[in-house]
């Protein structure tokens, strides 16, 4: 009989690439995608990394200073900031209403509910959701004209898609007990929703809406670049005319707004989860 080895033989490390290794395929695919991307894009690194570009970048950044702080211009920036805030708030509100209205046909309220509209409504919600705010703004500008109205509607369109889906899932996941209790008493669908389902899911709907509002403030700040009002419109206008001092002020206001919203939402979340 052959004596057993005193210690088990060393196993060789796995081969670097084997056809059965999923991670290897994944890594290979990623590498190929990256190489193909860099190869197919005509990136002008020479132009970007040249001394000439560095100098023009430096000049460009230098022109930002001093930022324009004349009271008259600051007032316009303040109006733009308010407009951005109003667009985001009102757009989110419209989206919450629209999302709730679409979430009802998009969800199965109880076991016996046939929910025939569920699939088409979900398709509609997906379409609304997968077109970004900026593209909606570009489309709506044609119908609504330049200004914050188009931006508000654009935010509302995209956010309706997002919130509608989240709301529908919240409604479907609500505990069925209270609704069933009302239903066996012969209460109609609308009142079952209003008095049993809605009170249960309302906190969740509120928190989704607030979270989207936070996102929308950011989106509203840049929406104006295509002409849909708010700070972005001021930014695109003054950058187009090479008013660099004014651009710097607007960028500062934008950063301040975003930082403020971040800090507020961070604080609020910490306060609520404490």
């Amino acid at each position: 009989m052959k004596p057993a080895a005193a210690n088990s033989p060393y196993r060789l490390p796995p081969p670097l690439w084997s056809a059965r290794c999923k991670a290897c395929w994944f890594t290979t695919a990623v590498l190929l995608l990256v190489v193909a991307s860099f190869w197919s894009l005509d990136l002008q690194w020479g132009q970007f990394l040249s001394l000439e570009a560095a100098r023009s970048m430096g000049r460009f950044l230098g022109e930002f200073f001093p930022p324009d702080t004349s009271p008259e211009f600051l007032r316009r920036v303040a109006i733009g900031t308010w407009e951005t805030l109003a667009m985001s708030a009102f757009g989110t509100l419209l989206a919450a209403v629209g999302g709730l209205l679409l979430a009802l046909p998009a969800s199965r309220q109880h076991e016996a509910d046939a929910a025939r509209a569920r699939t088409p409504t979900r398709l509609l919600l997906n379409a609304l959701r997968s077109i970004p705010e900026l593209v909606w703004a570009g489309l709506l500008l044609i119908a609504a004209g330049l200004g914050p109205f188009a931006g508000t509607l654009a935010l509302a369109m995209h956010t309706t898609g997002v919130l509608g889906r989240l709301f529908a899932e919240a409604i479907e996941n609500a505990p069925p007990g209270p609704g069933a209790a009302l239903r066996v008493q012969g209460v109609g669908t609308v009142r079952v929703f209003l008095y049993a389902t809605l009170p249960q899911v309302l906190p969740q709907l509120m928190s989704y809406t607030l979270y989207r509002w936070e996102n929308n403030i950011r989106a509203a700040a840049v929406l104006g670049v295509v002409g849909a009002g708010g700070l972005g419109q001021l930014l695109a206008f003054h950058m187009g005319l090479f008013h660099m001092g004014k651009t710097a002020t607007i960028l500062g206001a934008m950063l301040l707004l975003v930082a403020l919203v971040d800090a507020l939402s961070h604080g609020a979340r910490r306060w609520m989860t404490r």
Binding site: V34, F48, A86, P132
Partner: protein, 276 residues
């Protein structure tokens, strides 16, 4: 004996509800003024005509072979801009994460972190915050000025914004996990890079990869949007067609875009599920 009360015929809380609805409407008024909320302008005669013509031109969607070839090429460019941008973002984010994460601090093993490393880490954190709080669209506007129209501006914009986002979230992932293995390695004299490669990375690799894949999906979405300020790809063509009121082309490109996003969504969800 308890007497069964008749069910209330009216909502018992109606006064409160009516009051809060009224208060909400009063608060809504300034918002409606500021956003110039005038839905009836949709119904104005000439507006209705323009919109009708535009919507009418949506059908049939454009399907000329050379147009479809152009759309396919631009879709690939959109994906390529997102991928190249993500690669550069990783190049930016990984060193910044390694430098700024608290877990790899040697001096923090015994009490408080020394002052120098603490401020270095804090400064890098602020840099990451600045990078990600400038929206990528604004970065793109700036770079279009410097390098001209084309994909370079889009790639750079995605690289900077996403570099900041990835750096911050990577740091959070590394710090939120179990750090005993890393600390043990560092205590026994391994270098920081060794401690990262053998302690921190194996524990968090799945989560880090999954977040990166998710961000790649987001980058595809934003690379379309960047096209609107002239950074190439599907967005730029979409913007051109919209300005020319060419509804058929707009419809085709919107459909391609929705399909592209859905595909990226599917791929990313599948990969993240496989990673567990």
């Amino acid at each position: 004996m308890a007497v069964a009360l008749p069910p209330p015929a009216r909502d018992p809380a109606w006064i409160g509800r009516v009051f809060w609805i009224g208060a909400g409407l009063v608060l809504l008024w300034p918002l409606m003024v500021a956003t110039e909320f005038r839905p009836w302008i949709f119904l104005a005669r000439d507006n209705l005509k323009v919109t009708g013509q535009f919507l009418g031109s949506f059908l049939p969607p454009a399907h000329a072979p050379d147009f479809l070839a152009m759309v396919a090429r631009e879709s690939w460019r959109t994906v390529a801009i997102a991928t190249a941008g993500m690669t550069l973002a990783l190049v930016l984010a990984v060193p910044l994460t390694l430098l700024s994460t608290r877990v790899l601090s040697v001096s923090a093993l015994s009490g408080r972190m020394a002052r120098g490393p603490f401020w270095l880490r804090q400064a890098l954190r602020w840099l990451l915050i600045v990078l990600r709080s400038v929206p990528e669209l604004v970065w793109a506007l700036v770079f279009v000025r410097v390098v001209g129209l084309g994909p370079t501006a889009g790639v750079l914009a995605i690289a900077l914004t996403y570099g900041g986002m990835l750096g911050k979230v990577y740091g959070e992932i590394l710090e939120s996990g179990e750090t005993h293995a890393t600390a043990a390695l560092l205590r026994n004299g391994s270098s920081r890079l060794q401690a990262f490669a053998y302690g921190l990375l194996p524990q968090n690799a799945a989560e880090l990869t999954s977040y990166t894949v998710y961000r790649w999906e987001c980058a595809i979405r934003s690379s379309v949007v960047l096209g609107f300020v002239g950074a190439g790809g599907l967005g730029q063509q979409l913007d051109n067609s919209m300005k020319m009121f060419n509804g058929g082309e707009v419809l085709t490109m919107l459909a391609v875009f929705v399909a592209l996003v859905a595909l990226a969504d599917r791929v990313s969800a599948g990969l993240r599920k496989a990673l567990g």
